[in-house]
Assembly symmetry: C2
Homo-oligomer: 509 residues x 2
């Protein structure tokens, strides 16, 4: 049997002004919390229906808390098996194969790939991200966002513009530069600045010589930045890019003993402590947002930039001690084209309650397959960035995840209409001929007997007790026009006057 | 501030032949389980984040079991506040305002609406559903489905073609006819056939005089029909349309005492017993599907045809004793344009495990707003009905829910590609230059050093251990062609030969 199927999908452009909201909500804040090299199973939140052995090994209560407020994706992929290509794809929306940023960058004239017998690398783009106004942070800045970068950047080679997040649309940059890993996670090591080479983490002088672990230092800076942001009359975009859990796999002393006591050996306990440190960072950010009363208007995107590192000798794990077992049942890991190299965790959730009009299904897991660079248009949608500001790379096959998961846009996707030009049998609360039109949160009802419109905002008045027809004339007018146009298109019948048998005119406001 | 936003959505047509499946799965079976007049809160499964007082009042464990296997919709609406317009819209995909089937049908020359002072009804379509090959059951039959109707039809007036489900594409019809309610739920009353008038339920003579409640009688027939269907080499579509919980609100004796003991008065206990009877029917159908080994290949759609009846005097309820409280906090009920008249429960779930390739997110609730007639293209998608067989009514604003919720089509929606023409630093399991292409369940990887393709089916081999490149040459060829075309379009760079510095040719199979 041969069959064809096709997906009906809808293209729709909606323009909305402030008149659409009874209370004008500010644009949502967005925190893009990106962890380095975190494997698909390296959290206690499972991205499969059943928790795996590795999920059970880890302990990430803050991510569990976050996941309960939104959507996990069970088929999320990084755009590349290594960092820079994924990170630049998220910020540009463009595919690495199109930008030629196919490998990780450091020096504009050097690559670090492993020698091959007969082959060598293509002449790829070692410079990194190309500056343009369509980069995500630039668009967000133009839209009025305060844009903050904290942590590992790894977006362009040393000496190039994009090495500095400030050049690509970020207003603040703490600790982001060309290098893709930390020289050390320890304050006692000045985060690697006590050694020559490019690996010293910049900007954290205040913690030099202290016992503040790098993950914690970045979190302290994030808390300060959130406090500053709260003082502004601006929405903000925080890219919180932990250096963890990239090598060196050093113990985070706050959590190491916990995992030793759980029976992990030194090596695995160190890795799990790095993950736990990331979770503690998420916990503190969620708490700070709550303290600042920002949590109901802040979306958190949690992701990794590639699959988990598996090319190192393991300690004793639930699944064996050899290399290449870190992502099992996935094969291989970071750097490979097998699933272990490219399957990643992904959560989209509100820090607090759903922001009105942008509801996410709570504690849910969707199987929709997504690539990291989908985040470009997803975040652009959330921030209501006009389409003509954006990069459009058809070859990237990128989509916005927002219409797939969010209530408001699901509703806004199309008007809904009900047409019942009859008076139902029993008596009661308005069993009368009507035509009703829902668009976004608003529902306009025309009652034929009373020749009367009513307007309700279902978002905050699901019981339709507060008629807005007089207080919101512009919304009512717009919906009435749309309704009238639709009724004309389908030639919808209205009740007739008994006196002359004539059909009533179209509902007109 | 003025802003504009637009939704990116995708239009895509995919054609797939049987070569796409390693094991050729039969088309999924579909059970459309439609309850009459069931209100939005009349189940113990909540369609809101928190269970409401009415949810707590009811007891529907089978629906809870079903909901755990799929998606609930928190913004589902019936297309109309009364039965026939909703039911005909589901089967035709067309909006009642366009077909003029705007009220419930019985006699082609009569309507039953309540007299108005100055108005009368329009000249609406009292005949009912117009026969066409684009009706859902007709298309399913043409696609090779066994099509079975059980229960209340109410699709066309007495004496018209569509009054009989057999005329519109159903191969079997038990108990469906022109009338929209049962004369009686009791076998002792011969289900209303002991009285004159149109309300006697047809086809159930075998239960006349017995104590088999109507809901149960229809379930017994459904079990028989499922057994017959299991004997066929055909997928099946069962429209299981319980007469319950339409008036008369009679006690289902199997459950009445349970609710009396729970403290409900006679009237409310009778209503709750009707709901519980529906749940027992669902339970038995789920069990039967399991017994017949059909449950992993059967999708269940559970819905109501309009909001809950509220125009009757209530007994003592958690929310008061007066009329028009049955759907609170929603206003009014069946027959009205307020939310109580049109908000309904909706679940899409597999009877057993997800059918491979059609995964649904388990136990999840989506806020996506949907109208009943979306089920037309949703079920058509599941049954892989070609688009050119279908009604397309742009004015109905109908969409298929399938791409929004299902894994396979999420994956199929677009190819995914990874391009890493580098050999990553460490050694291990194939850290080698590659380009990979995922389409549907299949992932094709080209390894540049080995000049070798591999093909995996991620659906059943997430560990990529079973290379299908030799056993599935047609799939590999198709994916390789698509990959090559894509690489040409983006001018993707390949590794170069050391010998002459030339870039390798495009991966070619």
């Amino acid at each position: 049997m041969k069959y064809c199927y096709s997906l009906v999908l809808i293209a729709l452009t909606a323009c909305a002004g402030p008149a659409d909201s009874e209370v004008e909500h500010p644009l949502p804040n967005v925190v893009l919390f990106i962890v380095d090299d975190l494997g698909w199973q390296d959290t206690s939140v499972p991205f499969t229906l059943e928790a795996t052995a590795y999920n059970q090994w880890h302990h990430t209560p803050a991510l569990e808390r976050l996941a309960s407020r939104g959507v996990r994706f069970s088929n999320a992929y990084s755009t590349s098996p290594v960092c820079t290509p994924t990170r630049t794809a998220i910020l540009s929306g463009l595919h690495p194969a199109a930008t030629n940023i196919t490998d990780w960058t450091l020096y504009a004239d050097k690559d670090f790939s492993r020698p091959m017998d007969a082959l060598q690398d293509p002449q790829w783009n070692k410079v990194g991200l190309e500056i343009s106004d369509s980069l995500l942070p630039r668009m967000l800045q133009r839209q009025g966002y305060r844009t903050i970068y904290i942590g590992k950047a790894h977006l362009g080679a040393i000496g190039t513009q994009a090495a500095d997040p400030l050049a690509i649309g970020f207003e603040r940059n703490i600790a982001g530069h060309a290098a893709g890993g930390p020289g050390s996670y320890y304050g006692a090591d000045n985060y690697g600045n006590n050694k020559p080479g490019p690996w010293g983490v910049p900007d954290l002088e205040e913690f030099y010589g202290s016992d503040v672990f790098l993950t914690e230092a970045l979190t302290l800076k994030a808390e300060q930045e959130l406090e500053l942001a709260a003082q502004q009359q601006q929405p903000f975009f925080l890219q919180m890019a932990q250096y963890a859990v990239h090598s060196p796999i050093q113990k985070d002393p706050r959590f190491f003993e916990y995992f030793k006591n759980k029976g992990l050996d030194d090596k695995e306990a160190a890795y799990a402590s790095l993950v736990a440190g990331v979770d503690a960072s998420m916990s503190r950010i969620l708490d700070k947002l709550e303290e600042l009363n920002l949590s109901d208007n802040t979306l958190i995107v949690f992701c990794s930039d590639n699959g988990g590192l598996s090319a190192h000798s393991r300690g004793v794990t639930p699944l064996g001690t050899s290399k290449d077992t870190h992502n099992q049942p996935l094969r291989s890991g970071k750097g490979s084209g097998y699933e272990g190299g490219i399957r990643v965790p992904l959560i989209l959730a509100w820090a607090g309650a759903s922001r009105p009009g942008y509801e996410l299904p709570a504690d849910s897991m969707l199987p929709f397959a997504t690539l990291s660079n989908d985040l470009y248009s997803t975040i652009a949608d959330v921030a209501q960035i006009p389409r003509d500001w954006r990069h459009v790379d058809e070859n990237a096959h990128a989509v916005s995840l927002w219409p797939i998961i969010a209530g408001k846009l699901g509703v806004a996707q199309r008007p809904m209409v009900w047409h019942y030009p009859h008076k139902w049998g029993p008596s009661g609360d308005r069993y009368e001929p009507f035509t009703a039109w829902r668009e976004g949160d608003y529902k306009l009802i025309y009652w034929y007997e009373a020749e009367q419109f009513e307007l309700y905002n279902l978002q905050n008045d699901i019981g339709e007790s507060n008629d807005l027809i007089n207080s919101h004339p512009e919304i009512a007018q717009r919906l009435a026009n749309n309704l009238q146009q639709w009724m004309t298109a389908v030639d919808a019948q209205r009740p007739r006057r008994k006196a002359d048998g004539e059909m009533l005119p179209l509902p007109t406001l």
